[in-house]
């Protein structure tokens, strides 16, 4: 076997991560269109492409690319233009560290869990930048709500992840998935629930979409955006779902664990990521939007105490065993 030069390996890995980043969020986006349509009995566009309107996503993309790039006079132009990139790129970087199977990972890091949490938290800055730089009252209010929401939900997310790190005794994501066993489904269930709820809240998806709340804030921080920049914000949301589902799969569902894992482990990971993504979409369809005070109460009065309780439970079990 010939050895690949280091620089070529780096380039290939970066290209592979970028390719995954461009394909998976679109699949999730397509799934959201169709799953929501069927769950709510509102079919939407069914003509583009023939079968079930599958090409509507392509048509939307073409439309977005042809729109004029308008920045309002009142906006802080440089920040306004940069915000979509700041929202999108961190999820790409976070995806680098999420393993599909042992060895099948963009970059295998000792502190992979910490890295993914840290990188995906940066994406929020893009929303805050958009909210502030638009110079629009709706955007500013949406941005402030985003800040309040993320302050509250980052904490239960991190605490739930810590519980898994304790159980596995490592922060390396491959190591965590290897340490996983089926009994974790019961033992780490509170952490899993907290992680999923807090993760959906971090993505600001319904029922936690108070910052966007189209009935009162038009489109929140994205009100003034159109064309490709708006499309990039949408892509960032779907990329966020992929990162959340990927992390949830590795932490709580054992990643590639399953029959014939040494052959088709990567497939198990992808299947689990997709199932978790559909659950995230399902949550959106099933629950109405939370009010701002309910949102804060859920984080501080339910999720944080549950996560702290889980930490105690995990600690006792780890030390006792």
């Amino acid at each position: 076997m010939t050895t690949v030069p280091d620089w070529l390996e780096v380039v290939l890995r970066a290209v592979a991560v970028l390719a995954a980043f461009l394909v998976l969020p679109l699949l999730v986006g397509q799934a959201e269109h169709k799953v929501m349509a069927h769950m709510q009995g509102r079919m939407g566009p069914m003509y583009a492409g023939g079968f079930h309107g599958w090409a509507q996503l392509v048509a939307d993309g073409v439309k977005f690319a042809q729109k004029e790039d308008v920045a309002p006079r009142a906006a802080d132009r440089a920040v306004f233009r940069l915000a979509p990139a700041v929202a999108l790129v961190p999820y790409l970087v976070a995806l680098t560290a999420i393993p599909l199977a042992p060895g099948v990972v963009g970059a295998d890091m000792d502190a992979g869990l910490l890295f993914v949490l840290a990188a995906s938290a940066v994406g929020v800055l893009g929303t805050l930048m958009a909210g502030w730089a638009s110079g629009n009252k709706y955007s500013l209010l949406g941005g402030l709500r985003t800040a309040a929401q993320l302050l509250s939900y980052e904490l239960p997310l991190v605490l739930a992840a810590t519980s898994v790190a304790m159980a596995a005794g490592t922060l390396n994501l491959t190591g965590i998935a290897d340490a996983w066993g089926p009994w974790w489904l019961a033992w780490q269930l509170p952490a899993a629930a907290v992680f999923l709820v807090a993760g959906v809240a971090e993505l600001q998806r319904p029922p936690f979409d108070m910052p966007i709340a189209d009935a009162e804030l038009v489109m929140g921080p994205y009100t003034e955006y159109g064309g490709l920049r708006f499309a990039l914000f949408l892509l960032a949301e779907y990329a966020g779902i992929v990162v959340l589902a990927g992390l949830f799969t590795v932490l709580f569902l054992g990643g590639w664990a399953g029959p014939f894992a040494h052959v088709v482990g990567w497939l198990w990971t992808l299947v689990k990521v997709f199932v978790v993504s559909v659950v995230v979409i399902w949550i959106r369809v099933a629950w109405p939007r939370l009010r701002e005070d309910q949102l804060q109460a859920l984080a501080w009065k339910v999720l944080v105490p549950v996560a702290l309780g889980q930490l105690v439970l995990t600690g006792v079990v780890v030390v006792a065993s």
């Binding site: 970066a14 910490l114 638009s134 500013l140 790190a165 038009v218 701002e292 702290l308 930490l311 600690g315």
Partner: protein
């Protein structure tokens, strides 16, 4: 090596954004008018500026968050060694988190977790 890959991925992301916007420049029209540059306010002319003074009511949540976020920084390295050091380290961390939990309970009881 892992962090070189991260750097390359970051670079690829920035290039993707730059190339996308550059290609978009060729495809999109450019016809600015005065009306297009107006701030959107549901169809009426904007009243005052967008950067108005607002009362940031959630600053207490922000304080609470900062307290616990610092705690989380200690939790991560501790989580990887807890099985090696046993009950003593678990009790120590229990005292640490317990103090914070009492603080949260105090905040709860004194009503600052209610949205005003």
């Amino acid at each position: 090596m892992a962090y070189v890959v991260v750097g390359a991925v970051l670079l690829a992301g920035v290039l993707f954004f730059a190339a996308g916007m550059a290609a978009n420049r060729l495809l999109r029209p450019h016809a600015p008018t005065r009306a297009k540059g107006t701030t959107y306010e549901s169809g009426v002319d904007p009243v005052g500026g967008g950067w108005a003074q607002t009362n940031v009511r959630y600053y207490l949540f922000a304080y609470l968050y900062v307290v616990f976020a610092v705690d989380a920084v200690y939790l991560f390295p501790w989580a990887t060694v807890v099985d090696r050091y046993g009950w003593a380290t678990l009790v120590e961390m229990g005292v640490f988190i317990g103090v914070l939990a009492v603080g949260l309970l105090y905040a709860w009881r004194s009503g600052v977790l209610r949205w005003v």
